[in-house]
């Protein structure tokens, strides 16, 4: 998906180490870290991180980003809990190779 929307292999790989990666500009890195905190434990969105968000984004952009992250979490948990099979392929959600 990321390749389809124009991100490089380097940027996709950098998602595993956002905090120390130079693949993203400061604003995007902050949003990615905010997404991590909001996803892992929303209580973990501390004042320092939120101040960084305020530095890079307007209030309405923070609402936008929070909605994207919230929506992604909604879809992820919905499709995972219900084991929704992958679209456009005949591969079932819990195919043998994923259960190892």
């Amino acid at each position: 998906m990321a390749r389809q929307i124009g991100f490089t292999e380097q940027e996709i790989a950098a998602l595993d180490r956002v905090a120390e990666s130079v693949a993203f500009d400061a604003a995007l890195r902050t949003a990615l870290l905010y997404a991590e905190a909001m996803t892992r434990d929303a209580h973990g969105v501390d004042e320092k991180l939120f101040a960084e968000m305020k530095r890079h984004y307007s209030d309405s952009e923070i609402v936008e980003i929070s909605c994207v992250v919230g929506l992604a979490n909604y879809w992820n948990r919905f499709t995972t809990a219900l084991r929704v099979d992958l679209s456009g392929s005949n591969e079932p959600y819990d195919s043998p190779k994923t259960d190892t």
């Binding site: 998906m1 990321a2 929307i5 124009g6 991100f7 940027e11 996709i12 998602l15 956002v18 995007l28 949003a31 990615l32 997404a35 991590e36 996803t39 892992r40 984004y57 307007s58 309405s60 952009e61 936008e64 980003i65 909605c67 994207v68 992250v69 929506l71 992604a72 979490n73 879809w75 992820n76 948990r77 919905f78 499709t79 995972t80 809990a81 219900l82 084991r83 929704v84 099979d85 992958l86 679209s87 456009g88 079932p92 959600y93 994923t98």
Partner: protein
């Protein structure tokens, strides 16, 4: 096979069927998650509206939103 039956085109009403047809034309298949949301047609229609509103309106570029969506999905180890 997922935990709930997916509602195919002949099992849904006109509202959901119109959405199925749009996606069949645009991408050649109907996302399986839609076939689950379709158990409650109003959830399907409003979910799609909300998804499009969140992802395609506002001032944060779509490409960045997609990357955020992808990042969260990787964090959640979501296979879908």
């Amino acid at each position: 096979m997922g935990r709930l039956p997916r509602l195919e085109r002949d099992q849904v009403g006109p509202e959901a069927r119109a959405i199925y047809d749009t996606y069949l034309k645009e991408r050649g298949n109907v996302p399986n998650a839609f076939k689950i949301f379709a158990h409650l047609p109003s959830y399907l229609t409003t979910m799609i509206d909300h998804y499009r509103t969140v992802m395609f309106t506002g001032s944060v570029p779509f490409q960045r939103k997609e990357l955020l969506f992808l990042h969260v999905s990787r964090l959640n180890a979501c296979r879908y």
